[in-house]
């Protein structure tokens, strides 16, 4: 298939009430043409509702959905020109793979010859050309997903919508499909929205990520931004930051903030800096926590190793210090010296990756 002229997508102040329940609250974002946006969050956060709003199966109470600047919020689903891959694929069980793929083209009243040609191309694209005559029940889960993808793409939609696209696949197939999906989306240049609850998947696939919580966008940004600079405790926890600890601001210069914890002062990062005396929370990924010797000259918290576990390529330490417990990950290959449980050590935090969060 040829490269598609990607469309821009903007959501403007989307709101949704179910009776008195405010399930989607003021969702706004812009993604440029050709990029892949992931709606990320735990179940019940509203990510699927937003996707279904874009597809037209859920009516927004207010707000706009702009595709190439045109509001589609009032259009019927069939008039929106989106291609959706459903969570369970929703293949038509009474049609062959080829007929499934042809369905959207038939609805668009294309000529027979063109339908045949485009169906063949689409099935070849997902490497299923040989199975065109099979019914969905005769296909494996991975093959069904490819048919669903071909069916959604063959109509050359303005937007590709994927609802937990890899959720039903097992680990190996998942990794393989993840790479394939990414390449396909890049090479077609089609603007895509993915719903997932898996942060690794989101980080791997996305150009943009919107983390949702209780129907609201908690943070919107590029993957590494969200990984390195989570804007809230919720995002930190969701992105797998194990150390979330209370502290107090001592002073700040620009985005560098000095904080105190258990009588020890260390440095951290906050986009605008914070006034002295504020109670805050710090978020540090275990890989940015170093377990050093007790006599290390750097600033840090002296404490006791309470547990050590060797997990494949990393060593996981738990250290009790400053009245709390730190988790630290060290590379097993590089760690010069192992610390045994009970040893007195110093916990040193990487100041660039110690995120200071307002409480």
């Amino acid at each position: 298939m040829d490269k598609i002229q990607g469309s821009s997508l903007s959501l403007r102040r989307l709101d949704k009430y179910y009776d008195r329940f405010h399930v989607i609250r003021d969702v706004s974002l812009d993604v440029p043409p050709g990029s892949l946006l992931t709606l990320l969050g735990p179940s019940g956060c509203g990510k699927t509702t937003v996707l279904r709003m874009i597809a037209g199966f859920v009516a927004s109470t207010s707000g706009e959905i702009l595709v190439d600047g045109r509001d589609i919020a009032g259009l019927q689903p069939e008039a929106r020109d989106t291609g959706m891959v459903f969570q369970n694929y929703a293949l038509f069980p009474h049609m062959t793979a080829a007929d499934n793929v042809a369905f959207g083209l038939r609805m668009r009243r294309l000529s027979k010859a063109e339908i045949v040609e485009r169906v063949r191309d689409a099935l070849d694209m997902v490497k299923l050309g040989a199975l065109a005559g099979r019914y969905p029940s005769q296909l494996s889960g991975g093959q069904q997903q490819r048919v669903a993808l071909a069916r959604a793409l063959v109509v050359r939609p303005k937007l590709l919508l994927l609802d937990e696209p890899l959720g039903a696949l097992d680990r190996n197939l998942r990794d393989e499909m993840q790479a394939e999906l990414r390449n396909l989306q890049r090479s077609l240049g089609i603007t895509t929205v993915v719903v997932t609850h898996d942060q690794d998947e989101a980080l791997y696939l996305s150009d943009w990520i919107a983390v949702l919580k209780e129907g609201r966008i908690e943070q919107f940004g590029q993957p590494l931004d969200i990984y390195d600079r989570p804007a809230s405790q919720f995002v930190s926890r969701f992105m797998g930051i194990a150390n979330l600890l209370p502290a107090r601001v001592v002073g700040s210069v620009g985005s560098r903030v000095e904080i105190a914890m258990g009588g020890v002062r260390v440095a951290g990062w906050h986009p605008e800096g914070l006034a002295a005396g504020r109670d805050v929370q710090i978020a540090v990924r275990p890989t940015h926590v170093e377990v050093a010797a007790a006599i290390d000259p750097r600033d840090g918290f002296v404490g006791t190793v309470s547990a050590v576990a060797e997990l494949g390529e990393k060593v996981v330490y738990q250290v009790d210090a400053a009245g709390t417990r730190f988790e630290a990950h060290a590379s097993r290959m590089r760690s010069v010296r192992r610390h045994e449980p009970g040893a007195t050590v110093k916990v040193v935090l990487d100041p660039d990756h110690t995120i200071v969060l307002e409480r």
């Binding site: 859920v58 259009l75 689903p77």
Partner: protein
């Protein structure tokens, strides 16, 4: 365009038809209730009344009262009997692996497709042949034989839908087969037992095509007496009786809704 219309999976024709069908279904039910309070033997507009004289008539009529007694007796005996016999049978059909199981299931469920009149006449022929003058006993036997398949079918469907892992978990935790059945399986069958009981109960009170053959003047039941009354007298006394039956069925519906919820019961009757 109206955004709310997006969430309607079907066009206007579907809800419109459904609404009209509902009105069609409710019309005779609502009408008969209203008619039972009409002060006059025939329908007229505007209606006169309200009056309770048809209810008085119903309760003072010896024929109707005896018939009510008979009907309730049949329903209250046949319903538990069908459940008690139906439960082990359903378990055997759903779980057993013995020769002839499918044959038993087919034979047992066959009265469901044999017209009631045929079953009624056949049983009458049998009772006549053996000179079985059992009074109300004829109908008791007839309704039991006729009601059993209803009870068995709903319970079999429910049993087949149970998650076997729950019973395996109970066995794994040390429960015997019998204890597992009573503590884990049986409680899960609550809804189908209730559904089966309601079916049998209503059938026992309302069935006409079998009752008309298996009862006589001395053992007459409500539907038969009502039919004769309509044929011979034609006044709203039957409407009063109908209203009482409708009230009973409303009570049953609410009881089901409170006990297991109607949508869940529908789930069982899927098969």
């Amino acid at each position: 365009m109206n955004r709310r219309s997006l969430e309607r999976p079907y066009g206007r024709l579907v809800p419109l038809t459904a609404t009209l069908a509902c009105l069609f279904l409710l019309l005779p039910v609502v009408f008969v209730v209203a008619f039972s309070f009409n002060d006059g033997a025939y329908f007229q507009w505007p209606p006169r009344g309200p009056t309770l004289r048809w209810y008085v008539n119903f309760f003072e009529s010896e024929r109707f009262m005896t018939a009510t007694e008979h009907s309730l007796k049949v329903a209250l005996i046949v319903t538990p009997a069908c459940l008690v016999v139906g439960l082990p049978t359903a378990v055997a059909i759903a779980r057993g692996r013995f020769a002839g199981r499918d044959l038993i299931a087919t034979l047992l469920l066959s009265p469901l497709i044999v017209p009631g009149v045929v079953t009624g006449v056949a049983l009458l022929a049998l009772f006549t042949a053996v000179h079985g003058d059992l009074g109300l006993g004829r109908l008791l036997i007839g309704m039991f034989v006729f009601g059993l398949p209803f009870a068995v079918r709903t319970m079999v469907a429910d049993l087949l839908g149970l998650d076997p892992r729950l019973e395996e978990a109970a066995r794994n935790l040390g429960a015997t087969r019998l204890r597992t059945f009573f503590l884990v399986t049986l409680p899960q069958l609550k809804s189908s037992m209730l559904a089966g009981a309601v079916f049998v109960f209503v059938e026992a009170i309302d069935n006409f095509s079998i009752s008309v053959f298996l009862t006589d003047e001395r053992s007459a039941v409500l539907p038969v007496v009502a039919y004769q009354y309509i044929r011979d007298f034609d006044d709203p006394t039957v409407a009063a009786m109908a209203t009482l039956l409708i009230a009973l069925s409303c009570a049953l519906v609410f009881a089901i809704e409170r006990l297991i919820g109607f949508e869940r019961m529908m789930h069982i009757n899927r098969k």
